[in-house]
Structure formats: C-alpha cells, structure tokens
C-alpha cells in the first residue's frame, strides 16, 4: 500500500527530491478536500502526508484537529514554505514527522525513515502491519500483546534470532560500504516481516539481530514469522537484495524472559538472550531454522509435521524446520561452501507430466 499525499497542488511537491529522489516511497496524491471522508480508511496507510502550504495558522489548526481525531492515522506535515512556527505543536497533535523546505530538498535517508518508524513504535506501535502491501493477513489474528509490555520490567517473549551465514566470506567478497548497504536491505526485510507478525526487531548488529514477540499476544506469531521469512526470502533476494546471488541465513527461535528496554540493549543481562544467540550461532547450521520445543509448542497443530528433532541444546529439545524448495540449497554467490543436498527432493524428480 502506497503512502498518500493530501494536497491542493501535488504536482510540484511530488517532483521535490524527498518524493522523487533515490529511495523515495511511492506516494499517491489526493485532493485536500477528500481528507475528511477518507480519514477512516487511512488507518492502514503507512504514511499520510498533509501539505499545509498556503494554509493560514487557523486553517492549519483545523487541519491538525481533523486528522488527529483518528489517532490511528500516521500523518506527517509537509511544509514546503517553512511557515509553521511551532513545530512541536504539530507533534503534540499526533504527527509522526514534519518536513520543511530543507528536508524536502533532499532524498529521504534510511536513517530518517528508521527514526520515524521507531518513533511510531514508541507512540504505541499503531498497526505496523499497515506497512504490508496488501490487506490484513487472515492467518495473523489481531492483538499483538505489546500494550502489556512495560519498559524496565521482565517479560516473557518468543526470541527470534536471525543472522546471515558466512559473515567472514561476505566481508572478503564485498567492499565494506557495499556490504553495509546490502545488510541494511536485509535488516529492512526482516524488520518488515517481524512487524507484520506483531514482533519488534530489538537488536541488530551488522549481519543479524534479535526480534521479540510478546507471549501475551492472543496467538504468538513468532513461528509463523520465521516461516514467512523463509518463504519470502526468494522475493527478497530477487527484488531487494543488493548481493549478486542468494543470501543464506540461519534462524533460531526460543521462549524466555528478559527485562525489556527500548534502548541501551547492550547493557541487558539475560540468560535467555545469551541462550538464543548461542543456539543460533553454535547449534543452527547455515540456512537452517531451529526451534526449541517450547517454541514449537506455540504452533497450532497442523504445521508440526514440518519440524524434525535434531537433538538437545542446553538441556532443551531442539527441532529443525524443513526448508521449502525455494530455500534449500541457497548460498550466496561466490561462497566456498558447497551446495547443500541434504535430502531435498530434486526439482527434476518432482516434475510431473501434463495432467
């Protein structure tokens, strides 16, 4: 779903670098007079831009009052003539971003968009699933459990570890700046799917990170999130990845508890956090998705045949999820590792003749 710009003269605005430069998101223009009628349908729009150029102070107040009447709409004030004198008031009214003449004259940076996303989350994580490019997924029930998570207190979570395989090989094969940019797209991909399943990417460091899913949620989505990351990795490789070949990554999922803090995650001391990193880095093999028994229990019954026991780690039984045909055998181009052939039915053998 595209962002929406409400403006009485969108043509000129959309040609500004912020909306037309590298990395600009797709924006649909609508007339300002449509805003009131459209307000209920804007909850699912990832970002609503409101052009206040030419508005008097009282018109701006009326506009803010109107849009803030629906607190689930994430809106950004676009002020190309930098006429707003009290920018803080814009945020007090519920805006998630403010773009003045200077910001509009440059393409949007990844940092800024990440900061806006983080700010939205701090406001209460209003429907991150709206970032998806389709309607709400029938397999993802509402109620993500984050409203019950209090900062600086211990909570139980499903921990999803994800990390690109063969980091040393990647460093050897790619220039540091190129690799950092490539891993940035990987992070964006992971963060988007995690958010669609009610989780939050909590830690990230170069090649991977850790996502949290509250267990207060009506139906924890962490295992489904892992499955979706596996299934859609082919689309990431093809459409978003900056690497020449497929990116191999491993995932691990377990259940544990930790003190939750939005920031200063480096100071967190938690056995569960240590354990999931060890499970992901020491136990999981390249391109595998492993789960502890308590994480498998989060699943409804039908998908369990897709998991195979692979031993125990730190006293917990561990299962490995079978890999789909689009993932098994994946390796980043140029890696020294041989292709994996462990039991995957070859594509040629499954070829069936015409019906």
């Amino acid at each position: 779903m595209s962002a929406v710009l409400f403006s009485d003269s969108p043509g000129k605005l959309l040609r500004l670098p912020y909306f037309s430069g590298k990395g600009a998101e797709e924006v649909q223009a609508r007339a300002m007079k449509e805003l009131k009628k459209a307000l209920p349908s804007l909850e699912m729009v990832p970002q609503v831009y409101l052009d206040v150029q030419g508005c008097s102070a009282s018109e701006r107040r009326r506009l803010l009052s109107l849009v803030s009447s629906n607190p689930r709409v994430r809106f950004c004030i676009v002020d190309p003539s930098s006429a707003v004198d009290d920018v803080a008031a814009v945020f007090h009214a519920g805006a998630v971003d403010y773009l003045d003449k200077g910001l509009l004259s440059a393409p949007p940076g990844v940092k800024r968009r990440t900061a806006v996303l983080a700010y939205i989350k701090r406001l209460g994580g209003v429907g991150e699933e709206a970032a998806d490019q389709g309607p709400a997924d029938a397999s993802v029930p509402p109620g993500d459990g984050w409203s019950e998570i209090e900062p600086n207190r211990e909570h139980t979570f499903a921990f999803l570890f994800i990390e690109a395989d063969d980091a040393e090989g990647l460093k050897l094969r790619h220039e540091p700046q190129n690799l950092a940019a490539a891993m940035g797209t990987f992070r964006d991909y992971v963060e988007r799917i995690v958010a669609q399943h009610g989780g939050r990417l909590w830690m990230w460091s170069n090649f991977g990170g850790l996502a949290l899913f509250p267990l207060h949620a009506r139906a924890p989505q962490a295992p489904l999130c892992g499955l979706r990351i596996l299934l859609s990795s082919i689309f990431y490789d093809f459409e978003e990845s900056l690497l020449p070949g497929r990116l191999s990554f491993r995932m691990a999922l377990s259940v544990g508890s930790t003190v939750y803090n939005e920031r200063e995650t480096g100071k967190i001391i938690s056995d569960s956090v240590n354990s999931i990193f060890h499970l992901g880095r020491r136990f999981a093999q390249p391109s595998q998705f492993v789960l502890t028994a308590d994480a498998v229990e989060l699943l409804p019954s039908p998908p369990k045949p897709f998991f195979r026991p692979v031993g125990t780690y730190e006293g917990k039984r561990v299962y490995r999820m079978l890999r789909p045909s689009s993932v098994a055998g994946v390796r980043e181009q140029g890696t020294a590792d041989p292709p994996r052939e462990d039991g995957h039915r070859s594509a040629a053998r499954r070829a069936a003749g015409p019906r």
């Binding site: 489904l224 859609s232 082919i234 093809f238 039991g343 995957h344 039915r345 594509a347 040629a348 015409p354």
Partner: protein
Amino acid sequence: MRVSSRLASVFVNALSQAMPVELMQSIARTVIPNYDIYERSGFPSSIHMPRVDAARYILKEFAREGYLVKLVEALIHVTSDGYMGNPVRIPQLPRIIAEVEEQGYRYSREEGVFVEAGASGRTMGWGTLREGRTYEFALLRMDIAGNSEMVRRYAREEIAGAYTAIRELITAKVEKRRGRVWGWEGDGCLAAFYFQDKTIQATLCGMELVHELFVYNLLARSLPEPVMVRLSVHAGPCRFEKSVKASSGDTIRRVELLESRFTPPGCLTVSPGVFTDLGSKLSPLFVPVPGPESATIYRYALEWESQ
C-alpha cells in the same frame, strides 16, 4: 477526462509560449500518427497558423478524442529527453501536470504515464489504457482446482466465505505488484500486468500466491480441506476491453490452456517466453515439463525437504 477552464488556459498558454506550431504538430504526431493540424482544422496551409490558435485547436481535438492525457505525457517526455536531439522547455508544464492530477490521475515517473490515483479509483486499464487497442501484457490465470466437487460438498455460505478470502488474497497480491484483476468467472480469474518487468511481476505474483495459499491452507482455511489453485503466466499482445469476456485472442487462450491442461493443483506454470525473462535467481526454481504442441513449459511448486 474533463477539461477545466483552468487547464485549458494553462495548456494553451504553455504550448503557445514554448514552441512553434510545427513542433506542436510533431509532438501531437507521437500520439496520433500523421496528425495534420492544417488539414484537420481547415486552416489554409499556405498561411502561418497563429500559435495560440494551434494550441487551442490541439487541446480541443485531443480532449474530444480522449488523447489529452497522452499528449501531456508526450510533453513530459520531450521536456526530459528533448525532441530530435533538441532540448524543449515548457516552463508551465508543472502547472499542466498539476491540473491533470487534479482530475484524479498521478504521474508515474517509472512508467512515464499517468495512472489513476488512489485505491478507490482502480480500473482495469490503470486509467491509461484505451479500450479496443492492443497492448503487450503478461497475463496470470488462476483457477480453483476441484471447484465443482467442493461446491457440492459444502454449504453455499461456507464456500462463499472461503472463496471471498481467496479472492481478497489474490487481488491484494496482484495489486501489490501493480497488476489488475480483470475479472472473476466463478472459481477463476484473469489478472493482467502491463508496466515495466511485467513478465517478472506476473511470475513473482504467481509464486507468492503459491506460498500464501500454502500458509492460508495451513493456518487460516475455513473449509475442512485445503483450497488448491492452478496458476499460469503467459505474455503477449492482447486487445484491451473493459469487459474481460469481450477480450479474447491467442494470449488469453494460451494462458487458459496452460492453466487448465498443463498445471497440477498447487503449481504455477509459465510459458517459454516468460521463462527466458526470469534470470539466474528465479529460473533454477522452475523445472521444464512437456507443454502444448511439443513445447517445453516451466513449472514452480512449493515443496519441502523430504527429511
């Protein structure tokens, strides 16, 4: 498209101030081949036509024949790429674009065309295709396997609920990749992709539907048994009609044939021409199988490690 008096005024001023009549005519010919303003207007070709009159006449004719948006697109192209190697400046072009966008269009920089703006105004032709004309499309055909048996086995409400969920899923995935569902016929549909990388987008959409229907059947299905679909992709010329029933031709027949006779449930089949566009990341996921008339077609299925 309705031509407001403001648009008419801006358009006539912009053209008459920016270019001679000959250039107006040349740009008009990129939209309507062999367009001759003197012949059409009856103005004697031996006398130089005033620029304002020429711009006004072009506006009137192109608006009447429904080509005004295409002409504005052509003006945008010549201002960015020049005409016959010469730069063209139209200082008031942004105002023309803004006026067109006021009418519910959005200029897509990637495609170089105006498309309809807003989710509520989605049409089969993206707001830019003209009925009765032939375009190159990538077509995605989908059909629910075993529909007749399911309709007999379950109550109408149960079937309706399941099919509504499937339709919403398919429409969302098609539109996510800038395609349009052209029509539903009971248990099947035809979707079209027109813009850049259309064969890739149609194929990725088909693959994503194979994956998403797997997840739907695993976790969210409302019927006791999984709903399986057959998907096929083929690309080629097709006459665009606003009624999918009126649209016909080899490309549609071919994609229907691939789906109905050469695709097992749960699979996606693509024609050889589509397969050649897939590139090194996607093509290894498809396996060659015998197709119609001894041709080799290519199939994608979501399968899992056996252990």
